[in-house]
Symmetry: C3
Subunit: 347 residues, 3 copies
């Protein structure tokens, strides 16, 4: 991929200032970009780099007044950040645009239904009765179980495993190594202390526009479905247990875990390494700070909590500071005990 | 799969009440089941749903006295929950019963020994001198290293990696993405601050009836074996380090980790996101609460601990409550200091 | 593999004491070794086992004075531990020495460049314009994206996924299930509360002599690179977010996570399950205790911290002890309040 300044200006409706024919092949931050790269300046804090950057082209705001000479060709637009984002997006799409067709070493069951303009790489395995929508991309090593449905425009990266009966929506992005629909962790104790497996015969339903990070795991429901609602964003190495529901547009950072049957509301933000116990509810718009352990339902929307067990954010932060002051508190307590003793003896 | 009420009644030795020929294809909870689904009523708390459910068939206890009209066909048995569990189990087994045979695109080394009635999917890779027992199922993308032994009846889901020399018992269930036998994390510092790898030439031994969750990792021993004993149940994304032993029928929840050379006893319960340091012992029947950090051996069986560093459960819970009360304690301390000052001045 | 005592003695320049022709096939710890195994005695604490071991050959220090009869053949060398380590290393290399060549069911794009003496297993997938160095080993189920470069001598275990444009150095070891170069977790909020994906078009650069544990994930940078510097050792199930830099010879234990844009210094030691927030710096030689949550930059080299939020190690340990003493402190406080009341009434 290679674009000249005038080609870029046409795409983002900008005006070229400098060499129209200079071309770029990749992107760089203004403070570290090299020749052949495209960069942008939006935040005035970074303006100094504009005068020293090696980037070949820089997108800037149309109202920028230059204070010094600039080596790069400029493309002026009304909103440089949004124009740059547009180009990043275009680049990402172009990068995958030639991933179309079914490669020779894929394994597709004869009963599977495959949509239009699909990419199925070598070593992808599509089981009986699976249904793959249009424009879906399936990378090498992906396993798709029986009866699985994948919506239009979804991208499934390498080595993802999707167990039987699960349903994936449209325009979902699944990163490499994800497991969807493995058995929930359900066992009943036997009289001898061993455990009997409780069959997990439900599924996982992932709605549209969800993105899920690498090596995250989402277990199938015992009966019924584990739900990941529209627009949810999950980071890497997250555990979502059986029968959980994660509400619309909720965002969960890496290595967090939600235990069985808990319902996380909409627009919730969960920090990294958070643990949520089973069978509770988290109200909409709740913020849970990183590494917290949530042990009770949070019923008031827009709550903000931290710590283990998780508690009101500001109160807990104050307690954490005081905890570090405990040696001092103890000293003051001992001092008081001595003084009281003195006073008692005096009396 | 499809069963009529009279077929089901025969399997679970029940009595049909209603239409003998109505059929079901799947399962549902009584409060959300649809037409064509089978449900059950065991807990009297849910009885109200019996009179409104859309389930086509409901399994109930034989002594249930109806308080209203029921649309569904009933099958009466002595223990409705256990009859339902029997059917779930049957369903799970039937679901996989046609997964038999060796698919054309599997890769099996000529020196590997393969048992009877085995399933080996396309893109499964079985290395030299591996031994696969009878009735084993190996799904796509599974890697089985040299000299690995897999016991009868074991199921290995998609994209599991088992390194050379590891031994897996009978009737084990390995969920997708698990890694067994990767090198333990062992390095010796060089004089210049870099690290030299200590070769990890042991293996992992997993005994019978173990179930392991998705993307969990179990490292091989430096020398000797890392052991997962009979009946252990591990959830998803767990880390078991080299030279660890996890005792019989111990249960570990998701994202917990056990560091090198620690020995976890039998019938232990470890909560989610717990960390256990290296080179310690955990007594039998210990309960470790979620997110705890265990830093010392637990020598008394049936101990219950929580917190980081982990400590007696009830004492720690009291301390955690008091920690939240620290701002109040500080206020009371300051009040006392003032009063003492007053008293001292008075005297 | 099989070696006689005299063959071993030649390799490690030792002197045989006993049967020169006895042979060993594997290794064992002196306290549990069996016939046919090689063991060593270095630590005098274990000397008692020398007189009872079933090992066929034991490597001992040349100055060892026997106190009893020994069944095993001895090989005397100046440093028994280092001689044993040499043999372990040799064994590890021999074990993989026959993994050379390109297996028939691999998928290699015609534009990929493949070095000399490479191993590419069945079901490994090498994309367009990838460059694979000499002596690289690529196991089954590995996905290598477009334009990826792999340095000489690197070993990539089963089911690793490396996204496009990433660069892996020389003599790197990647364990099974690792994901390198998945999209960073970057989203911009839309006015309606949903999120727009920020394209992640950077890459991951892993320098020489790095080892990374099973199922660890390393996200690509938004722009530019996520860096894992020379000699870094990462354990299993670690999360390294986008734009992070992990400095030379830093060691990170299992299940730890480093959030976006943070810079971890050189020779840092990070314990298991540690969380590091985004956009901070960790000074060289810092030690971070297991399960800590680092919320602020650590600017002083050789710092040692623990707890959440992480704090000076010794001070925090004292506070943790005092926290367990809070019920006692509260009692003493209440006692003082009563006594003050008494004193006030007296006056």
């Amino acid at each position: 991929m290679q674009f000249t300044a005038s080609q870029l200006a046409q795409i983002i409706q900008g005006v070229v200032e400098g060499d129209e024919n200079v071309s770029v092949q990749s992107f760089g931050k203004i403070e570290e970009a090299k020749s052949g790269q495209l960069s942008f300046l939006s935040n005035p804090k970074y303006e100094e780099y504009l005068y020293s950057t090696d980037a070949s082209i820089v997108i800037v705001n149309s109202d920028l007044v230059l204070k010094d000479k600039v080596k790069a060709t400029l493309v002026r637009v009304s909103d440089s950040y949004s124009a740059f984002a547009t180009l990043l997006d275009l680049y990402s799409k172009l990068r995958m645009s030639h991933h179309v067709g079914i490669e020779a070493k894929a394994s597709i069951h004869s009963s599977a239904k495959i949509g239009k303009d699909v990419f199925v790489a070598d070593f992808a395995y599509i089981s009986a009765n699976a249904e793959i929508g249009d424009n879906v991309k399936i990378y090498p090593g992906v396993f798709i179980g029986e009866n699985v449905k994948i919506g239009d425009g979804t991208v499934i990266n390498a080595n993802v495993s999707i167990y039987h009966d699960c349903i994936i929506g449209k325009n979902v992005i699944l990163h490499a190594g994800i497991v969807i629909g493995s058995d929930g962790f359900g066992f009943a104790p036997n009289p001898d202390g061993s455990y009997a497996k409780i069959p997990q015969i439900g599924n996982v339903v992932i709605e549209d526009n969800v993105e899920i990070g690498a090596n995250t795991t989402i277990d199938r429901s015992t009966i019924g479905s584990t739900f990941i609602r529209t627009g949810v964003k999950l980071d890497n190495l997250i555990q979502i247990a059986h029968n959980v529901e994660v509400g619309e547009n909720t965002v969960i950072a890496a290595q967090a875990g939600v235990s069985g049957s808990s319902k996380v509301g909409k627009y919730v933000m969960i920090g990294g390494q958070v643990g949520v116990v089973g069978h509770i509810r988290i109200a909409d718009f709740t913020k849970i700070n990183a590494q917290s352990g949530v042990t009770k339902s949070i019923t008031v929307p827009k709550s903000s909590v931290t710590g283990t067990p998780a508690y009101n954010f500001s109160a807990m932060v104050r307690s954490q500071v005081l905890m570090r002051g405990l040696p001092d508190m103890l000293k003051r307590l001992e001092e008081l005990e001595k003084e009281i003793e003195l006073l008692k003896n005096k009396n």
